[in-house]
Amino acid sequence: MADAQLHKKLVLTNAFRCLECGKCTATCPISRYNGSYSPRRLIGRMISQDPANVALDPAVWTCLTCGLCNTRCPSDVKYSILTKELRAEAARLQNLPTITHGGALQATMRLHATSEQPQDRMGWVTDDLKVAEKGEWGYFVGCLPYYEAFFSDIDANPIKIAQSVVRVLNELGIEPVVMKDERCCGHDLLWGGDVKTFKMLAERNVKMIRETGVKKILTACPECYRTLEVDYREVVGKLGFEVIYITEFLADVSAQLAEKMGEIKQTVSYQDPCRLGRQMGIYDSPRKMLNIVPGLEFKEQAKHGVGAICCGTSSWQNCDATSKRIQTDRLLGAKAVGADTLVTSCPKCYIHFKCALQGESIPEDQKVEVKDLIVILAEALNGKK
């Protein structure tokens, strides 16, 4: 990226308006535990020196891109977006992130971008689930089949999320189109600075979705949702189909679902995923869906909605002691308000929390269950049968 382009990004994200008030650092969940990390200082350096210097700093990879600081900034500096842009430059300069899981997930995404071989990813569609090849409604599954395989050792079964989506849609008489050869949405590569591979995935997926002829595509992953809705448009322009987050759709037909639900005796709290909440502004529909489940008691934590704290890791990068402390805090926070289950609607929050529940960092009597929202809805529907 030429310097002029980087300068433009600084302008677009309001960086030059920074007052150096330090609210971003004060609110940042990373800075809370890692005193050497300061978004204020990084912004300061970017606008007072050559921003390319900052692109060479490993700290560009420390941010969770959770966007909490954006909401507190009196000058409307969009630090998380600036980080995304800066990372593309960082990766170009070979300042690369620490990738978790030995890079297996990023390697998978890259193979998705380049391999011409069709995948064999439909094994999760069990006989009781009805999906279609043509129709008005599509369901973008995301990497769930891969997570199911890769996270087989943390007792998570993320594929239940995809199965529950189809289960709930079937209840409403919808047989969603599920693409046999859908590729990764590319979110993690984009936020990891690999814009080139991201574009390949974007073009591939958009072409594939258009070919199915669906008018509306549902997703149950906030990252897929943001990526399709916001970042794909930047690559391909007009999409030619609508992207809808699952709870937004379900909230409109909630009465129809509510009468078919059996009781679930649980006290739950909700984790706002940062992509869904602060980035896409969806706070109400997940809560509305939890409220229709008979028997379910809802407890809000102090830090929720716009002020919610991220689950501690993003884009399969940089999982460290700070991530673990943030995750532990969130889980204990749910327990503290009297919940026995922390509900999230992001497969990654779900996996991160499941991982944090392994081991002994949280005493047994302080542990809560972690569940995906859509899985609870499917369980309530099954409860009635």
Partner: protein, 152 residues
């Protein structure tokens, strides 16, 4: 390449061999002048536990027709539990590659000790045969348009 036929197909096979057993096993085969096909490229790792599923997946993207992951027998790992880790990760890899549509003949996990030069030679012969039967890998990134990806 369009002109490449199965008969003249020279596979590119990547082998990860741990320093303490499998690599020494390959040396043993050499010292004893055992013959095996020259289609493999060996990467020496300190332990089979150092290899990640990501390395294997990347190898397929970068043009490998087959990948062999090899270490010490259980109980013999120089770092005690490295090969147990390798086995655990290999099981995940197996499922991931199945989802990606990679032919199961193309990847393998094997234990070869420093004394098993004969086992090494036989294993490579067999693996090369398997890969030749499977043919050129369809997973290589398109050679005419190389993708510059940041390495991990």
């Amino acid at each position: 390449m369009a002109t490449e036929t199965k008969a003249e197909f020279k596979p590119k096979i990547l082998v990860f061999a741990c320093n303490w057993c499998s690599y020494a096993g390959a040396d043993n085969a050499g010292v004893n002048r055992m013959q095996y096909p020259p289609d493999i490229r060996v990467i020496r790792t300190m332990c089979s536990g150092r290899v990640s599923p990501g390395h294997v997946i990347d190898a397929f993207r970068m043009g490998a027709d087959g990948v062999l992951w090899s270490g010490c027998h259980f109980g013999d790992c120089h770092y005690i539990f490295g090969n147990y880790e390798a086995e655990k990760n290999y099981k995940k890899l197996e499922q991931m590659l199945k989802l990606m549509g990679v032919d199961h003949r193309r990847f393998r996990l094997e234990w070869v000790s420093a004394a098993e030069g004969n086992k090494w030679a036989a294993l490579i012969k067999e693996f090369v045969e398997d890969i030749k039967a499977a043919g050129p890998s369809p997973h290589k990134q398109n050679g005419t348009k190389p993708v510059e990806l940041p390495v991990i």
